[in-house]
């Protein structure tokens, strides 16, 4: 029996499967400190590079450009400037809200922009350069979603 004799009779099948491997990622010293300050004090912190003075938000232990350790914690924001935005119009199983609006937000005092959700405004009312302010969750768990979203500053 040859495949070539019967190839038309074979219906190619699909195996419906999934990969579900649980991970638990260490936030590390620096990430933990950032998330704990966010959770316990609603403070947003960055780390300053001793050489170029750039303040990284979220914090990074090493400044890639200078290749040195960042050790000086700096409180930034809470207000910031909108650098870029979009809205995910097509659904995704991992969206935290329906049709989330995303923004890159440069918090006052920060040298890098924070990627987060934007709320309290339709997409059409957003403009780059506008001022935003964070809305914190009542119940905070030590997650980036302890900030519910950023909204246009009053």
């Amino acid at each position: 029996m040859k495949t070539s004799d019967t190839v038309n009779e074979i219906k190619p099948q699909i195996l419906e499967s999934r990969i579900k491997v649980p991970y638990s990622w260490s936030a590390g010293e620096v990430g933990s400190h950032f998330l704990i300050q966010l959770r316990d004090h609603k403070k947003i912190l960055g780390l300053r590079c001793p050489e170029c003075n750039k303040v990284y938000v979220p914090p990074k232990k090493t400044c890639g450009a200078c290749f040195v350790r960042c050790q000086e914690w700096v409180e930034v924001g809470p207000e910031g400037t909108l650098v870029a935005f979009t809205q995910a119009r097509a659904p995704s199983p991992v969206h935290p809200v329906e049709q989330p609006i995303y923004g890159l937000i440069l918090l006052s005092g920060a040298g890098t922009a924070l990627l987060h959700l934007i709320g309290g405004s339709p997409l059409g009312n957003l403009k780059t350069g506008m001022k935003l302010t964070p809305v914190f969750r009542e119940e905070r768990k030590g997650s980036i979603l302890d900030i519910e979203y950023f909204r246009p500053a009053p």
Binding site: K2, T3, I10, K11, L15, S17, I19, S24, H33
Partner: protein, 155 residues
């Protein structure tokens, strides 16, 4: 176990999972269809080296040639090696642990030149040996996947 440091957080992936729709291909599809509807095992023979591959596949790697001669093999076979799992690891498909103990057997079906990896029933009181003759026990409901064989057991 280390004492949990309250200053160090971990982020969990929780219930996150990724669905996959794996193509079984024409050869795998044919193998599974025979298994499901007729309870028969098929392999393919390489025209060059004459080896019979089970499960079947298109390419004979050593000869780097396509194969298309189908050969019925098994259903009985010989246990070439086995192990007993007493500490289960996570099943990547479900994220859950299987109940222990269970056995993995590597079975050379009669007429095949490659081995099939499957579950093997561990007889109460032990006594399973490499070289034992084994036969497949089919699942009650066959759906056209490798779980259509519940496990192999000693004849």
């Amino acid at each position: 176990m280390a004492v949990k440091n309250p200053n160090l957080l971990t982020i969990s992936s929780g219930e996150a999972q990724q669905p996959f729709h794996y193509s079984i291909g024409l050869y795998g599809s044919r193998f599974l269809e025979e298994l499901k509807s007729r309870g028969r095992f098929f392999g393919v023979r390489c025209a060059s080296c004459r080896n019979v591959y089970v499960p079947p596949r298109f390419i004979c790697g050593p000869c780097f040639k396509g194969m298309d001669e189908w050969v019925e093999v098994g259903p009985e076979g010989t246990l070439t090696t086995f192990t007993v799992i007493r500490f289960a690891f996570l099943d990547p498909e479900t994220g859950l642990k299987r109940p222990v103990p269970y056995g993995y057997g590597v079975v050379r079906l009669d007429g095949a030149d490659t081995n099939l990896l499957h579950f093997v029933k561990i007889p109460e009181g032990g006594g399973l040996r490499v070289g034992d003759r084994v036969a497949p026990v089919f699942a009650q409901i066959r759906r056209g996947n490798l779980q259509d064989i519940a496990h192999f057991e000693k004849i």
